[in-house]
């Protein structure tokens, strides 16, 4: 079964067409990257799949569940990490993980989810401090922990390493890779082409609401006779 199937998806904001008929699939156990410049439609596509935005036309299914008809079922199996997401500032990191975990399980299951969140976030004693006191990197690690601790079947990660320093970014990438090894499908967006090339099994290049090219990094580089994905992108949008 496909983790995600997007068919001819169109999304309008009033008169503005943000996504113009894109189609792609994400397989189980793979990391699929949507890459493109700011305003290309990456975040809109992820928000639609995360059940946050309405579909203008086309169809989206997640593990066979249709959006928006079965949005409630989709929310049980996905985890969404928005770009520049925050956590509740008056809660401690631990309290925040507890709050989220309660939506996914009780008793031992709840404890296991929180424990996994603590391990992924890896904030040590600072997990008991208020989120308000965290640096951007610490908050992001907490949020990555929050997103992956619930063992989602599909993790939707919007610019997962956005604003992080090299060390923190590398750590987040390591966490994503280990989650995939555990069977999670990952759909991520980034405008960091290098990161996507390193992380993703397959890539779709998106520009002006359309997918201009897709495939593995190797296939794309070969197809466009390019040394890296950045070059592929530039050639693809010409």
């Amino acid at each position: 079964m496909k983790a995600v199937e997007v068919r001819e998806l169109v999304k309008d904001y009033g008169n503005l067409r943000a996504i113009n008929g894109i189609s792609f699939e994400v397989n189980e156990g793979e990391i699929f990257g949507l890459i493109g410049p700011n305003g290309a439609g990456k975040t809109t596509a992820l928000r639609v799949i995360a059940t946050l935005l309405q579909i203008t036309s086309g169809s989206v299914t997640v593990f066979g569940y249709e959006i928006p008809k079965e949005a409630g079922e989709v929310r049980k199996i996905i985890s969404y990490l928005p770009e520049e997401a925050g956590a509740y500032k008056n809660l401690t990191g631990k309290e925040y993980l507890n709050f989220i975990a309660k939506f996914f399980g009780e008793g031992e299951k709840f404890q296991n989810i929180v424990q996994r969140g603590l391990e992924i976030g890896n904030l040590g004693e600072r997990i008991n401090d208020k989120v308000d006191t965290y640096s951007k990197g610490m908050t992001r690690r907490l949020l990555v922990g929050r997103a992956l601790m619930v063992n989602p079947r599909l993790a939707i990660l919007d610019e997962p390493t956005s604003g992080l320093d090299v060390v923190n970014a590398q750590e987040v990438r390591r966490i994503i890779n280990s989650s995939v090894e555990a069977g999670v499908a990952v759909l991520l967006s980034s405008h960091n082409m290098l990161e996507v090339e390193l992380l993703c099994h397959r890539i779709a290049l998106i520009n002006d609401g359309r997918i201009v090219a897709s495939g593995t990094a190797t296939e794309l580089k070969k197809g466009y006779d390019a040394g890296n994905i950045e070059e592929v992108f530039v050639k693809a949008i010409k």
């Binding site: 946050l52 309405q54 939506f103």
Partner: protein, 422 residues
């Protein structure tokens, strides 16, 4: 340089969204003031009264002369029943009956008795203006008689000269006949009883409302809303959770406020009248109805706030959105304090009824006078209002508005029932 900063600040603060609420409130207050009327003008108006003189003596003649000069007398006869009916029909304030032996008693050094039958229309502060003017008339009658006593003979008891009459009063109010109380006294009792509840309700609504609107603003500012909306929880549960959470915060804050306020109010408590003696005491079921009325009004207010909160872009804009709620609560508070629901013009009556916060403000006074239909009708209306607001809020939560600020009509008003299920 400083001019540049002032210009920037002005442009940032003086926006359409900050201006519209102020303009709307100014218009509403102006409209309310104009509709209720001018206190000064009403003080100068001659009160409409009826007079029954069964004495026909020297002092009753003085009293009659004063009353005829200073009041608009619509009945001047000898039948108290007929006079009372006439005063009622003509929307008068009181029937004053001067019984037989009035003058004779005064000559015998006893105060002359005047029977006053008050027709009370409302228990608001503004409703007691006419009766206040009649109180002034009685003072004028006393002065006239005192002056005559001084001129006639110096052997009268000085206490009698200072107070030559005494009153026996009965007040008719909304089907109740209350003996021993003037309409002013009754109005004061009802006002003091019903002043605390409007203030409590207003504070409760404002504080809980500010909590829920700010919560929406903070969710957007802290970028936590998107995560919340992708969790496996129904939108209706998110909306209800926010409402109940804010209600608890609001109740705690209002309780703290009220501890201070009740101490402040108790310093003005001068009446030691037992309401039970006059059939005005409230029973357990009345207090239960007041509680239900307060609870439903709070839920209605918060459900309205959560709809407003969806317009908040951040914490700062959320603060601006509290203003309409504050204004509605204050309009309800002032109107119910100053006027009785039954004595305000029809347009204002509709406005007051339509604002859910008005109902607990009016409930205590209404229940004292056994006006159950108003209280129960208010609860029913407020409950329906709450359900409608929650449905609207859930539909907005299911739409793009929360994240994009715009709404796809199909999404908000699409298939019935789909929204609440999610």
């Amino acid at each position: 340089m400083i001019g540049n900063i002032i210009k920037k600040e002005f442009k940032e603060l003086f926006t359409l969204s900050t201006l519209i609420p102020i303009v709307v409130i100014a218009i509403v207050f102006g409209f309310v003031g104009q509709t209720i009327g001018n206190i000064g003008e009403r003080m100068e108006e001659k009160p409409v009264i009826g007079i029954v003189d069964m004495d026909d003596g020297a002092f009753s003649d003085i009293a009659m002369a004063v009353l005829i000069e200073k009041a608009e007398v619509i009945y001047n006869g000898n039948d108290a029943e007929e006079g009372l009916e006439e005063v009622r029909e003509e929307n008068g304030v009181a029937l004053m009956v001067i019984p037989e032996n009035f003058s004779q008693n005064i000559y015998a050094n006893y105060p002359g008795e005047i029977e006053i039958y008050w027709i009370m229309k409302g228990a608001g502060m503004m409703d007691s203006i006419s009766s206040g003017v009649v109180e002034g008339l009685i003072q004028a009658v006393n002065q006239g008689i005192s002056s005559e006593l001084i001129q006639q003979d110096s052997s009268f008891d000085p206490a009698l000269v200072l107070a030559p009459t005494q009153r026996v009063e009965t007040t008719f109010f909304k089907g109740k006949e209350i003996e021993g109380l003037s309409s002013s006294q009754l109005g004061n009792i009802l006002s003091s009883q019903s002043i605390v509840i409007p203030v409590v309700v207003m504070m409760l609504i404002i504080m809980a409302g500010a909590s829920v609107i700010s919560s929406m603003g903070l969710e957007k500012e802290n970028k936590t809303l998107e995560t919340l909306l992708t969790l496996p929880v129904r939108r209706s549960h998110i909306v209800i959770g926010k409402i109940v959470g804010s209600a608890l915060v609001g109740m705690i804050m209002a309780a703290i406020y009220m501890i201070g306020f009740s101490r402040y109010m108790s310093s003005f408590q001068i009446s030691d009248i037992n309401l039970a003696d006059f059939g005005l005491a409230l029973g357990m079921q009345d207090y239960l109805l007041i509680g239900i009325s307060l609870f439903t009004a709070l839920l209605a207010g918060l459900s309205l706030c959560i709809v407003l909160g969806t317009f908040a872009k951040n914490y700062r804009s959320a603060q601006t959105l509290v203003f309409p709620i504050t204004a509605l609560a204050m309009i309800s508070m002032f109107i119910t304090m100053f006027k009785d629901f039954d004595t305000i013009p029809a347009v204002l009556r509709i406005l007051v009824f339509a604002i859910p916060f008005s109902h607990p403000m009016m409930a205590m006074r209404a229940l004292m006078l056994d006006n159950y239909p108003l209280v129960i009708g208010g609860i029913a209306y407020t409950a329906v209002f709450t359900v409608i607001m929650i449905v609207v809020a859930v539909r907005i939560f299911n739409s793009d508005r929360l994240l994009t600020g715009s709404v796809q009509k199909r999404a908000v008003w699409g298939k019935l029932g789909w929204g609440l299920r999610r």
